[in-house]
Amino acid sequence: MSDQGHAPDFDYQPALPISNGKTFMWLFLSTEIMFFAALIGTYIVLRFGAISWPSTHDVHLAEIYGAVNTFVLICSSVTIVLALEAAKKNNSPLAKGWMVLTLVLGTVFLGIKMVEYDAKFSHGLYPQHPHSGIYEKPDVYYAQAVRLRLSELKVELLAITDRTAEQDKQLTVIDDISRELVAPAEEQLRNHPDSPLGRKLLWKLADEIYPRASVHENPGGGHTSARHPNPGYLLGSQDSAGRRDRSPFLLTGGEGDAGAEAHDSSGHVSGLNDQHHPWLKLPIMIPGGNMWASTYFLLTGFHALHVVIGLIAFVILLMMTLGRANAGVIENVGLYWHFVDLVWIFLFPLLYLF
């Protein structure tokens, strides 16, 4: 920089008047901006171009989790800023304290994310078959998938020689579903392919297995897709409470009696998959559900990956002395962490509230 031996009056000018680390962090962040802009832009195209898109409650998204996570990330942004301020004042213990708090908050974010993912996975909402049980529409293929799943379960149960009472009950449930829902729909479709009744029965089958919240709650509410408002097939043709009373197999479910039409805490209606929770796992019908699952898991997954990388950086920082000498490193990690927060600021309304 200063070569005083033979110094012409050149003043060395770095490209940017900031440290190399910070320059590269900002360069990296600008690539990240483009990366997430592309992902979010693609999500918007797919979401608003989709013929149908599930409402948040259709896919077991609870807004409160997203809001809490937003709050957690904002808090962690503040704590890392305070860590930087403490480091600038050469107060390493205080900086470490704030850094630990940031680490804890980041972990809380991931924990809430895991709870959310678990709610999706336990309902068969995966981005990809074979885990995913999502079908786009109730057609013959859907009925076939339900029938195959039922017979698979039945074969498994019949192979057991000494069945428990619980397993006998499961067999009854399977037989009831086959007899009352699947068989009538398939027979109707086979014998009267021109009649709309067969497809009505298919809608009913799908609705019994996985009642979508957008169909059952707040008719005409803002959450349903504008293109497909609430279908009137349930409200008009059949009274849903009476319909459930007529179905004897619903009463055999463990916790299904009171919860048949009851909404659980986050506004979901309980269907056959919920009433016979861990074992039944029938295919479910959510229009637009596969595209939703792909975009949701891609966006939140990439964001969660960034959170994990941030947490690793925090752990590395905690092994250093967080004094003034290392303030630059804290600043760079902080910049990255603020960016992670920034992405979530946009993801939260787009994924949870739109």
């Binding site: 008047p17 900031i18 320059t23 900002w26 360069l27 962040l29 600008s30 690539t31 901006i33 483009m34 802009a37 592309a38 832009g41 693609t42 918007i44 195209v45 608003f48 013929i51 149908s52 807004e63 809001a67 937003t70 709050f71 808090c75 942004s77 503040v78 800023v81 301020e85 786009e136 529409k137 392919p193 021109d194 009649s195 709309p196 497809r199 009505k200 809608w203 707040n218 509410g221 803002g222 504008a226 293109r227 097939y233 019908m285 229009p287 002395t321 004094g323 003034r324 000498a325 630059g328 600043e331 902080g334 960016f339 927060d341 920034l342 600021i345 939260f348 309304p349 949870y352 509230l353």
Partner: protein, 150 residues
Amino acid sequence: MSDSTHNDPHDSSDHHESHGSIGLYVGIFAALCVLTTFSFLTYFPFWRENVPVGVSRVFMMAVSCTKAMLVIMFFMHLKWEASWKWVLTVPASFMSALLIFALVPDVGLRMRHASHQRMIHAAEVPAEADSAQTAAEDDHSGETHEHEHE
């Protein structure tokens, strides 16, 4: 490195030591929380019943942009940086905007018109009337659908 007198002339950490006070950060934090509450308000029924979906979406995006600006300006210190900040942020924003605009034709084309092919793969509620007719017409395609053209 633990020597606190070490002073890198290109280390900007000293330049804005006086800018961000704890009080300011707490204020920004409070503002961010209030703004998050604003966008969360759209979730409640009274909002959804009284505000058109489009309006609340624009509102949410405006709130998000405000929050993003607060984070960028104060937490990421861009407010106090020298003009190098434009070198790095403007091209990136420009490229991101370009990416988004490149997708706009897709959005515009797809939002107003769904092709026959896409309607075939969409879930539809069976219509009450003249589905028998349509079904008969569509029978050759192996499946039966109504095509709801709006």
